[in-house]
């Protein structure tokens, strides 16, 4: 090929789909090599976009202490969320309550933010949630797993606290519904009940001091219900 190929051919070369002779021409032509270099830079800048463009939800933002929790891949949780909704085999507590808890549990991972604040210091998390929710919060002590962090979230559109624990590598969220809220009222009728989904997600309604709590995670109900203390 003695003449320069058109831009479409160089674009195809960039994709490894070049017509015969293009590669050989480019090897000898400085102008075409420069165009190919520009295409490479363009590709690099596009591949750099996904991280730059993803915007964290407001509830997940916090200042200097905020760090992302990444032990679980969002896609896997998205699939789990879909299966939980698709296959939903809740029993023991109302499906609407179980679905809302599972959805909120998984949504944080789909967004890449499980915690607004990461800390194993219960007092620090108490203060953080109390400040964010405008009422005194005392988070449940962990009986089996370790404390990871907390965030403010919503259940049925009303503010709630969420405390994140880890038990044998499994992440569990314990929701603290606001007393008198829809979630608290629905939960109050089913304290001690659990719901299982086929992919392993479990929801349990646990007793609490001022309102029942909702625990969600990929643990058997017997283990999930014993994760945190009542007080």
């Amino acid at each position: 090929m003695t003449t320069c190929p058109d831009f479409e051919a160089l674009s195809a070369l960039h994709d490894g789909e070049a017509p015969v002779g293009v590669r050989e021409h480019v090897a000898r032509c400085a102008a075409c090599r420069e165009t190919c270099a520009r295409l490479t830079r363009l590709g690099d800048s596009l591949r750099a976009l996904p991280e730059a463009q993803v915007t964290a939800p407001p509830s997940a933002r916090r200042t200097s202490r905020s760090r992302r929790v990444r032990w679980l891949a969002p896609p896997a949780f998205a699939a789990a969320a879909m299966l939980a909704l698709w296959l939903g085999t809740e029993r023991g507590i109302p499906p609407a309550l179980a679905n809302e808890a599972v959805s909120q549990h998984l949504r944080s991972f789909a967004n890449g933010h499980a915690c607004d604040i990461e800390s194993s210091d219960a007092g620090e998390l108490d203060r953080y949630l109390s400040e964010r929710l405008g009422r005194p919060i005392r988070i449940p002590a962990s009986l089996r797993g370790s404390l990871v962090g907390a965030r403010r979230c919503s259940l049925f559109g009303e503010h709630a606290g969420a405390v994140v624990y880890r038990e044998n590598g499994v992440v569990v969220t314990v929701f603290l519904p606001t007393p008198g809220s829809v979630a608290a009222r629905k939960s109050a009728e089913h304290v001690g009940g659990c719901a299982n989904a086929r992919d392993g997600q479990t929801v349990c309604v646990l007793p609490g001091t001022d309102a029942p709590r909702l625990a969600v995670g990929e643990l058997p109900a017997a283990e999930l219900s014993l994760l945190v203390a009542e007080n």
Binding site: E17, R47, M82
Partner: protein
């Protein structure tokens, strides 16, 4: 395919679905919603997936069509933007402030140039460069011949380069 097998088939591609939805949708919430509906639709229509090897293109096609259908169905409306400017702002830069700002500026320009492209061009370029779809997979996604994919990608790249490097001709390889 059983439920579990189908889930395992889709899982490797959920990141691509999420990224495509994030690029197509107007907000993170819309993108999340689009992802969930796309996955639900995938489960509903799993019987239509003939070749498991084509799962990625099939899932991305489904996501894009859902998005396009939503746009068609939408009527002009005003969107109330909730939250304060502080909530809407990006997280503070970390590390070298100068480098961070420069990188952010470049990515903003690239994102703006991508958004300015016609949807078919922008999505084709995105799926090729970021997700690595082959020409054949892109032809499946867009239901068009491979030759159309090739010319669409070239037009997208030419427009992007002209937007990002104004004053520089993109036909440097076109000397006769």
């Amino acid at each position: 395919l059983g439920d579990r097998a189908f889930q395992q088939l889709l899982e490797p591609h959920l990141g691509a679905v999420h990224r495509l939805a994030r690029r197509l949708a107007r907000s993170a919430a819309d993108a999340e919603d689009l992802c969930q509906v796309a996955l639900l639709r995938a489960f509903e229509h799993r019987g239509e997936l003939r070749d498991p090897k084509a799962a990625r293109a099939w899932l991305l096609t489904l996501t894009r069509r859902l998005h396009l259908n939503r746009i068609r169905d939408e009527r002009p409306h005003l969107t109330l933007l909730k939250g304060s400017a502080e909530e809407a702002g990006a997280e503070g830069p970390v590390g070298n402030l100068s480098d961070e700002l420069h990188a952010r500026s470049l990515s903003d320009e690239t994102a703006a140039a991508l958004r300015a492209l016609p949807e078919e061009q922008a999505t084709a370029l995105w799926l090729r460069e970021v997700e690595g779809l082959s020409y054949e997979e892109l032809a499946d996604v867009f239901d068009c011949p491979v030759g159309t994919v090739r010319s669409r990608l070239a037009r997208a790249r030419a427009a992007m380069l002209e937007a990002l490097e104004p004053g520089r001709r993109v036909c440097a390889g076109g000397r006769r």
